[in-house]
Amino acid sequence: MGELGLVCSNIRVTYPEFSLHLDLAVNKGELVSIIGPSGCGKSTTLQLITGLLPCETGTIMLHGVDITHMPVWERNIGMVFQDYALFPHVNVAKNIAYSLKLKKIPKKEQIERVRHLLDLVGLQGFEKRRIADLSGGERQRVALARALASEPQLLLLDEPLSALDAKMRKRLRQQIRHIHETTGITTIYVTHDQEEALTLSDRILVMQQGSMEQFATPEEIYNHPSTLYAAKFMGEGTLLPHALIPKILVSIDKGPDTVVFRSSGESRQVFFRPERVIVHDNPALAFPEFLPHLRFSDARVLSCEYQGGRYLITCDWNGHEILAYSRYRPKHTKVTLGVRVNDLVEYVEGLVAR
């Protein structure tokens, strides 16, 4: 654990149809993504941190300073808004220098800082441009430069790439990560795009209806989602009732079944990602798998989508739908599927079984 950057303890806000509860500790220099569906409280969280929205209970500490009741303009938190909120009545340089001017920093230094920031975001020589003449990607980068101008202790990004096309998103994503690494600024990044969250973040916070579902590293969130909700939100997968398992379990060593599947309750379920599934379209072939696994024989192929480099296969097996990735298009309508027991995640009433 590094030094603490932002600590939100026991923050609560309540509205007639919505309530938010937050207990979050972000390390100094960390990049944390907050992900969740629209209306889950992502933007509200950012507004609470900036102070645009007052907290009802709890405290917010930034680098050891209690900022819970500090007005917005004293917090020195940079924020990039979803619509960028660049001031249309002044040019790029004046937008970026806005906070510097308020701090009464000498004109010469302002110009220097603006140039440095434009360098950082790759927009050299854009000082005199009008906001209306900028493309979406350029606006996004100007907004980032403006937020960084006053050297904030914390940078908040509210779905900064959602208005851009896929190619630009990928490019700017890398740039944001690069800027984060050069400045080392503690960053919170709100998104609804799981790919963005997985690629960018040191840690990811999954939110649902105002509460925290899971807060962990991208690998942990993807491979061992702590809730079924997080599992489904972060990517595709198959969910099966636990009771099926003893019937299809193949134990190679034939010894006493050491796998944990002895107790079986009604509410127990297992989950696995499609890339963990091995697809075989010739039942006569032996499975090249020497570890305990589940085997689904005679699964009927319902659809086969080419995704570029791999196929997403949707199969029906005894009334259960199973998703699998395959490098080849199955030759027959019937396939055999296998999943290693180690790759299963077990849930009891939606929560991961430890």
């Binding site: 509205y15 149809e17 919505f18 629209s38 209306g39 933007s43 509200t44 507004q47 900036t50 102070g51 645009l52 929205l53 007052p54 007005p71 917005v72 303009w73 004293e74 917090r75 020195n76 938190i77 940079g78 924020m79 808004f81 979803q82 619509d83 909120a85 660049l86 001031f87 249309p88 009545h89 002044v90 806005y98 906070s99 308020l102 701090k103 403006r146 937020a147 101008a149 006053s150």
Partner: protein, 575 residues
């Protein structure tokens, strides 16, 4: 969609808790209350004082039973109804043409629909006398063309003249309101109806018409309201007790019969009607917004050129008609300002005489024109101060009214718009009653005129500021706050600069309205306070048309500047 909306509502909280906007709006609200409500209450309280000086409802009941009052009320409503119908009859076809076709002269028609908002009623009156009068331009042209000895059109001082003047004033409102609403209606419903087998006329009858009816009704109530409280047009063009409306009667009683209590009782009646109309209008507007609430996508309308000869003819005829109808009287004023009578029979000759007298280069005995120069200075001074004050009040209130769904804000907005529901004659009456109890010189008189004008113009300024304020994304202000600006710094550095076009438009409107204001001024001012419209009124009364037209030309120039400023601002803002 619902959650998104909730989020935006939540995001306003910092501005709700900010003391800054309250500090801005409270003094503005208090000032407006003091300037508007106090004189109004003074006026209305007079209605409850009986002839013996005691408090009673007797006067009001008596007035309501009076057949004379009943006749005036009936006539006022009747002329407003006919004026509304005529205005709609001219406006709706124009709206249809604007929405359906693309043609040359379209922007002219659009620009024309902006004119009545800046055109003072005294100019309409003068334009009508000059253009349609017995010795007017239209008659002299017709006389020459058909070689007649008598003027073929005898309109002046008839019911028709009043209706025509009201239509002139108000058909652009119908045109503007209905066409702008119509244009926003997505066409895919029409297309859907067509794919379901409806013919063109059926589509219009079953889809388009039901959907534009709220706009038509909304325009109707507004026009009815304006015609109900129209004053100068009836005073001059109506020309006598036969065509007296409530507003004219209030003026007559207050300033001629010196029956303040009677005028007050009539004011009460008038306010009752106008507030009812405003309530209906607001309700209809809300209906319009709700009906089209789901429509956020702006789609490009496909406009076609009229392809049949008949279509071309109709479009051409409408363009020519509206130019002739609206610009004719105005051009007439400018033309006549360069002509003076040279003989008793009314022959005219070209001359700069009127202007020479106006600017004091030539003295004409017994002419009001000698004081016109100082009237011009007075008017410009009053208008400039009025514009400045109402701009400040409007901005201070607008800042608070920005968030629409804040608790109590809709009632605050309604309250700030209330002066629109009270006719300017009644505003003037309130200040007249105050003047008569105070003794002071010209300065006091002018101050009271300015205050009355502030009451009249502030709602218009507010109307130009508030919608623009609401268009500023809340994230701009939030961004400024996170960048280290306080709420007041954000107001000065971000919000006000973004509002600049709206502020200029609002101030220009206030200036033009005040320059042309005659109703309140005539009711409240004594003989020593002379503004341009008042002098024009007196010049028309003494048949000095050249002088009236010279002043009118200056007033037109003033309005044209305002008009062009706002138009170019609007265009550069959109483009």
């Amino acid at each position: 969609m619902r959650t998104e909306r909730r989020v935006t509502h939540r995001s306003g909280t910092i501005f709700d808790t900010s003391r800054f906007y309250r500090m801005l709006s409270t003094p503005a609200m208090l000032l407006l209350t003091f300037l508007f409500i106090v004189p109004l209450l003074i006026t209305l309280s007079k209605a409850f004082i009986s002839t013996e000086g005691t408090l009673s409802f007797g006067r009001i009941f008596e007035m309501m039973r009076d057949p004379y009052t009943q006749r005036i009320l009936r006539f006022t409503l009747f002329q407003a109804l006919i004026s509304t119908i005529v205005s709609l009859a001219i406006g709706i076809p124009g709206a249809y043409l604007l929405v359906t076709y693309s043609f040359r002269g379209k922007h002219i028609i659009r620009a024309i629909s902006m004119i009545p908002f800046v055109l003072p009623s005294i100019l309409v009156v003068l334009g009508f006398v000059i253009f349609y009068g017995n010795n007017g331009i239209l008659n002299s042209v017709l006389k020459q063309v058909f070689n007649l000895s008598e003027p073929p059109i005898r309109l002046l001082y008839t019911f028709t003249a009043v209706i025509l003047a009201h239509a002139f004033y108000n058909f652009p409102i119908a045109l503007g309101l209905i066409s702008s609403f119509w244009e926003q209606l997505p066409q895919r419903y029409n297309q859907a109806a067509m794919t379901l087998g409806a013919k063109k006329w059926t589509v219009f009858r079953t889809i388009t018409l039901p959907r534009i009816i709220p706009a038509i009704l909304s325009a109707s109530t507004l026009i009815f309201l304006f015609c109900f409280s129209s004053f100068a047009i009836l005073l001059v063009l109506g020309g006598g007790p036969k065509f007296t409306t409530i507003e004219v009667e209030i003026y007559r009683r207050a300033r001629m019969s010196l029956d303040i209590e009677g005028a007050a009782a009539l004011s009460l009646l008038s306010i009752f009607v106008t507030i009812t109309l405003v309530a209906i209008h607001l309700w209809l507007q809300r209906l319009m917004i709700r009906q089209e609430d789901v429509e956020q996508i702006q789609e490009q309308r496909l406009e076609r050129k009229p392809h049949t000869i008949f279509g071309k003819f109709i479009v051409g005829a409408y363009v020519i008609f509206s130019i002739f109808f609206v610009l004719g009287p105005l051009a007439g004023i400018v033309y006549r300002s360069f002509q003076i009578p040279v003989s008793r029979s009314g022959d005219l000759a070209f001359s700069f005489d009127a202007y020479r007298q106006l600017f004091g280069f030539k003295q004409a005995p017994g002419s009001f024109l000698s004081i016109a120069g100082s009237a011009l200075v007075t008017s410009i001074t009053i208008a400039a101060i009025t514009a400045a004050i109402s701009l400040i009040i409007g901005t201070m209130l607008g800042a608070r009214l920005r968030t629409r769904d804040k608790q109590g804000n809709s009632s605050l907005e309604l309250y700030a718009m209330l002066p629109m529901a009270v006719s300017s004659v009644i505003v003037g009456l309130g200040y007249y009653i105050i003047t008569s109890t105070l003794s002071g010189g010209d300065t006091l008189g002018r101050t009271l005129v300015i205050l009355a004008h502030v009451v009249i113009t502030t709602p218009f300024v507010l109307r130009s500021i508030v919608p623009e304020y609401r268009k500023i994304p809340i994230s701009y202000s939030q961004a400024s706050l996170t960048l280290g600006a306080t709420v007041s710094q954000t107001f000065w550095h971000v919000e006000l600069p973004l509002l600049r076009p709206a502020l200029i438009t609002g101030a220009a409107f206030a200036f033009a309205l005040s320059m042309g204001e005659i109703n309140a001024t005539l009711v409240l001012a004594d003989a020593s306070i002379v503004t341009v419209p008042i002098i024009m009124y007196r010049l028309i009364g003494s048949y000095n048309f050249a002088g009236a037209c010279a002043l009118g030309t200056i007033l037109i120039a003033c309005c044209a500047i305002v008009f062009l400023t706002t138009e170019s601002l609007r265009r550069s803002h959109n483009g």
